[in-house]
Every structure is written in C-alpha cells, then in structure tokens.
C-alpha cells in the first residue's frame, strides 16, 4: 500500500477539525503538543507557565481555524501560535529580578584586549553536533541566559524572525533588539567556551 503523503493526511485532519470532529481534535493535540510544549518551555522556565501557554496556544488555534490559509503548513502555523502564546505569558507574568548579563560577557583590559582569550574552537559545528551531549549542553546554556536576553536569542536566532518583527512583538525598539541579541550571543559563547575550546580536558 502506498504510504499516504503528509499533504493528504493534513488535508484530512483539517476537514475533520473544521467539522468539529473530536477525533480530529485529539489527533491534532497528540500529534503536535510534544513539539509545541518544547517551544513554550524554551521561553518560559516555569513548567506551569509553559503548560498554560500550550493550552492557550491550542485555544487560539481552535479560534483561528477559520482563518487558516489553504496551502499553509499546519506545523508552521501552530508553531507560530505557540511562540505568540509563550510571549503573551511572559508579558503577563510579574517581572522577576534577573542576573545581570554583564556577569556573562567577556571582559577587557585597559588597552582594549580581551582578558584570557583562550584557545580556538577548532571542531566545526557539524562535527560537534553529532554528539548528543552537545545538543543538551547548548540547550542548557541557553536556559541559563537571563530571560530578557534569552527571549531575543530565541526569537532571532532560533525562530529566525527578523529584527523589526521581534521589536514589534516585544514592544521595544529595533536597536534594543540588536543590542540584546548581541549580548545574548556573547553570553552564550562565554558559557559554551569551556566546553569547546581546544584545551578542554
């Protein structure tokens, strides 16, 4: 039997969803909630918040179903809704004091040279990424970034939204987005450095 193409599976699912079919709804939730919970968890550290945002995301999706454009991909659409739900949740939470990002940035001496530059990272990304530990490590280091900076890194470098869009979503200036992104990347680099530098044990 010829395997069904993803297109026809998705089309059938949409028909069921639009008809209010419970089986289709359950299939949707079971198919996508794992991925979408991973998304909300990245933005929101608190597990309860991440789960709330997941619920909010599905509710938004149900409401917005009539506007789902034919020819779009369900996964991309849901993913975007989940990111938005996570951001909304971030906005409504009371701001907690964050560790200052300065503690995680490289330091310089008076003449402008970096303190302890250390050895190169010689292995290319494709090689290190074969190791599962690398992926776990990088995700853990991203989690350690202060929230304001982590959010921008996630939106720009992981979600690959552009600067203007991120500025709009976070209600800050594009310049603020650029500065935060750069600081987030610098901090992440510092956190990763002990693990990738050539002289690591």
């Amino acid at each position: 039997m010829k395997p069904s193409s993803p297109d026809s599976d998705e089309a059938a699912l949409l028909v069921g969803l639009r008809a209010g079919d419970q089986v289709a709804c359950e299939k949707l939730v079971r198919t996508y909630s794992g991925r979408l919970l991973a998304v909300t968890r990245r933005f929101l550290h608190n597990e309860d918040d991440a789960r709330d945002a997941l619920q909010d995301a599905f509710l938004s999706a149900f409401r917005a179903l009539p506007t789902f454009a034919e020819g779009s991909l369900l996964s991309t659409w849901l993913h975007r809704i989940a990111v938005n739900a996570a951001l909304m949740k971030l906005r409504t939470r009371r701001r907690r004091p964050e560790d200052p990002i300065e503690d995680l940035l490289p330091t310089f001496v008076e003449d402008g040279h970096r303190v302890n530059p250390g050895p190169d990272w010689k292995e290319p990304a494709e090689v290190v990424l074969q190791r599962q530990e690398t992926r776990v490590l990088v995700r853990e280091c991203i989690e350690r970034l202060p929230e304001t900076y982590r959010t921008v890194l996630l939106l720009r470098d992981i979600e690959e939204l552009d600067t203007e869009e991120v500025a709009r979503l976070l209600e800050v200036s594009p310049n603020a987005v650029k500065i935060r992104l750069h600081r987030a990347r610098q901090a992440l680099r510092e956190l990763l450095d002990p693990h990738f530098r050539e002289d690591r044990p």
Partner: protein
C-alpha cells in the same frame, strides 16, 4: 585602528553588514591582523549555529515542506 573591545562590541553589526563601508574595512583588517578576534569571530558564529541546531529535532521526520517526491527519490537512491 580599533581595539578588540571595539571589534567585539560591534561584531553583530559587522556580521550583519550594517557598518558603513569604511568601518567594515577597518573591521576586516582587524580580523586579518588579530588572531584572538579571528578566533572569537569563529566561536561567535559557531555559537549562533549551535543554538539553532541544538533546538532542532534531527531525529524527527524530515521537514514538512520537503516535496514528498524528493523524499521518495532519496529513499530510492539509498536503497540501491
């Protein structure tokens, strides 16, 4: 002439090609002359790649927008 501190501070703009042309050249020259900053540049761009890749599920199904026929062609080629 710029210091390493200057280089790193404006690195994102340099990589995004958002520096004025003259400044961009000054940065090019600094990278060429400074092994520490050249190494920093490498690790910085690798950090960005690693961040994206680590948050992506490589063991999940092939990306949704890949034409099904392309996947079939790859399977067929692989099974030879």
């Amino acid at each position: 002439m710029i210091t390493c501190r200057d280089f790193i501070e404006f690195l994102a703009d340099y990589l995004a090609r958002e520096l004025p042309a003259q400044q961009h050249t000054v940065f090019d020259e600094h990278v060429a002359d400074c092994p520490n900053c050249s190494a920093y540049l490498r690790s910085y761009t690798m950090t960005v790649k690693l961040g994206k890749a680590a948050c992506t599920d490589l063991d999940g199904p092939a990306p949704a927008e890949v034409p099904e026929k392309l996947l079939e062609a790859i399977r067929a080629a692989r099974s030879k």
